[in-house]
């Protein structure tokens, strides 16, 4: 009568990755890394308000330590791959876990941000790819892309309203994604306390909004001609 003990995969790492909890832990850790990057990137970008020289120097500085740059890129790329793979697998699992949908289903407690993670994520990913093509590789979105002329490229790129709006919308989605993701990673990693969790949740919202405002300030400034 079904009381046969099963030997689950013996490899510890495989078993960890094989469980939803393990995948979520991986998503939390990689999410934390990506959040750290986003914060740093946003603060770096704000140097655009110090003028072309300072901004281009900052970009040059980043390229002056190729080892560090590539290390960061590898860590970030790995994080993205793990984050995305885990989320895709969890979505597939979610589908299998409820094969018959409800005729009527209400959400009564969850935030809009938390329910939209599964599509804010892919859109942000699409944005990141476009963003890299635009500013790192100069393939598209900047009419007269010039390697190393970062300030010029930004002004030129955001000078086109459609591209600026696409950027702004993506940053708003990033804001939503972080609003849930930043506190959720603590929960996933096992940090929850009746006193501190509410602070964490508010903190996550605050950081998400700060990140979004920080990023959005740039295309807005370009569009309004404050940065040119």
């Amino acid at each position: 009568m079904g009381t046969i003990a099963l030997g689950v995969r013996d490899n510890v790492a495989a078993r960890f990755w094989g469980s939803t909890n393990g995948k979520k832990a991986v998503m939390a850790v990689t999410g934390l890394i990506l959040f750290g990057f986003v914060m740093g990137h946003m603060l770096g970008n704000l140097q655009i308000f110090e003028g072309p020289v300072a901004f281009n120097d900052y970009a040059k500085f980043l390229r002056s330590v190729p080892l560090g740059l590539w290390l960061a890129r590898i860590v970030l790329l790995t994080s993205v791959v793990l984050h995305v793979t885990a989320s895709v697998q969890l979505v597939l699992r979610k589908r299998r876990a409820r094969p018959v949908a409800y005729a009527s289903k209400e959400s009564i407690a969850s935030t809009y941000a938390s329910r939209t993670m599964y599509w804010s994520g892919p859109i942000i990913l699409a944005f990141v790819i476009y963003h890299l093509l635009q500013f790192t590789f100069g393939v598209t979105g900047v009419p007269d892309y010039q390697e190393g002329e970062v300030y010029r490229n930004v002004v030129s790129g955001f000078g086109q309203p459609a591209i600026a709006i696409w950027y702004i919308v993506s940053m708003l989605l990033l804001c939503l994604h972080l609003r849930h993701g930043v506190w959720s990673m603590f929960q996933t990693l096992g940090v929850n306390h009746p006193r501190y969790t509410p602070i964490l949740r508010h903190g996550a919202t605050l950081f998400a909004v700060v990140v979004a405002i920080g990023f959005i300030s740039i295309p807005v400034s370009v569009l309004f001609g404050w940065v040119s």
Partner: protein, 275 residues
């Protein structure tokens, strides 16, 4: 008061189900939701139809048998209330209620609103206990438990295993249920020796059963009749991650999920089955 019910009717696991409309003209607002279905069932039997199958037993909110979705909310609109204690005062004349069973692949449907929740039993069997055989116990006061720890254990232990958390979760995750048992036993001093193995085994079993993953969105705790907090999920994650990182022995207890309804003559450990 008049109500329109749209109730999920499905003869069995392999037949197709559908929502069937029933008009009720004389619902007393003092009735419970289940008493309302009782009245409807009496009418249906009178008309020669089969009554709606729904699970129920204690009808005082503690056994965890009852539960279904009312207008998309597990156990209906009242907070911390199972459908057996949900009085019709919560509805207005002319309301329309859509009543559906819990939906999850780990809760296969049996009939109408009745689902098979044995996956929950297997999660407990995989490690949701303290291994103390009868007669092994020291004096009850030999193990002191601070009051706030006992209270927290009780908060988690209050789970009635109804499955509303799974039903309400967009991922059909059993994290709240599993986390509640892991927390109940994991905060107590008695539960420490098996704390890591318990987390590993119960999490492995919940995964094996095909429940989805937790996305920390909190729909579960909002419908929980016992208001089990999300904190228990964090504790499960903490214990699980700590155990996964520190364990040396890879042996984990799990049980093969099954959906058939086995009977005695097929049982292996029946030494007297001689035929």
């Amino acid at each position: 008061m008049r109500l329109t019910l749209h109730v999920w009717r499905q003869q069995g696991p392999r037949t197709k189900g559908r929502l069937v409309r029933y008009q009720m003209d004389n619902v007393d607002h003092e009735m419970s939701m289940l008493e309302c279905l009782d009245v409807l069932n009496e009418e249906l039997i009178g008309k020669g139809d089969e009554p709606i199958a729904f699970e129920h037993d204690c009808r005082e909110g503690i056994c965890g048998s009852c539960g279904f979705m009312i207008n998309g909310v597990a156990h209906g609109p009242a907070r911390a209330t199972t459908v057996c204690q949900l009085t019709m005062r919560n509805f207005k004349d002319g309301d329309s209620l859509t009543i559906e069973p819990w939906r999850a692949s780990a809760f296969p449907l049996i009939k109408d609103l009745v689902v098979d929740r044995r996956s929950f039993d297997r999660i407990v069997a995989s490690g949701g206990y303290i291994s103390v055989s009868t007669g092994n116990a020291p004096d009850a006061n030999a193990i002191l438990v601070p009051k706030d720890i006992a209270d927290r254990a009780m908060d988690a232990a209050a789970c009635i295993g109804c499955g509303a958390c799974v039903a309400a979760c967009p991922n059909a995750s059993a994290a709240l249920f599993t986390g509640a048992k892991i927390s109940h036993l994991g905060v107590l001093p008695q539960g420490q020796p098996e704390r890591h193995l318990r987390a590993l085994s119960m999490v492995a079993q919940a995964n094996l059963e095909g429940f989805g993953g937790c996305t920390n969105i909190g729909e579960c705790t909002a419908v929980c009749p016992k208001e089990i907090p999300l904190e228990v999920i964090a504790r499960m994650n903490r214990d699980y991650i700590a155990a996964a990182l520190s364990q040396r022995d890879a042996e984990v207890n799990t049980i093969r999920p099954f959906t058939e309804w086995s009977t005695g003559s097929k049982l292996v450990n029946d030494p007297h089955a001689t035929s």
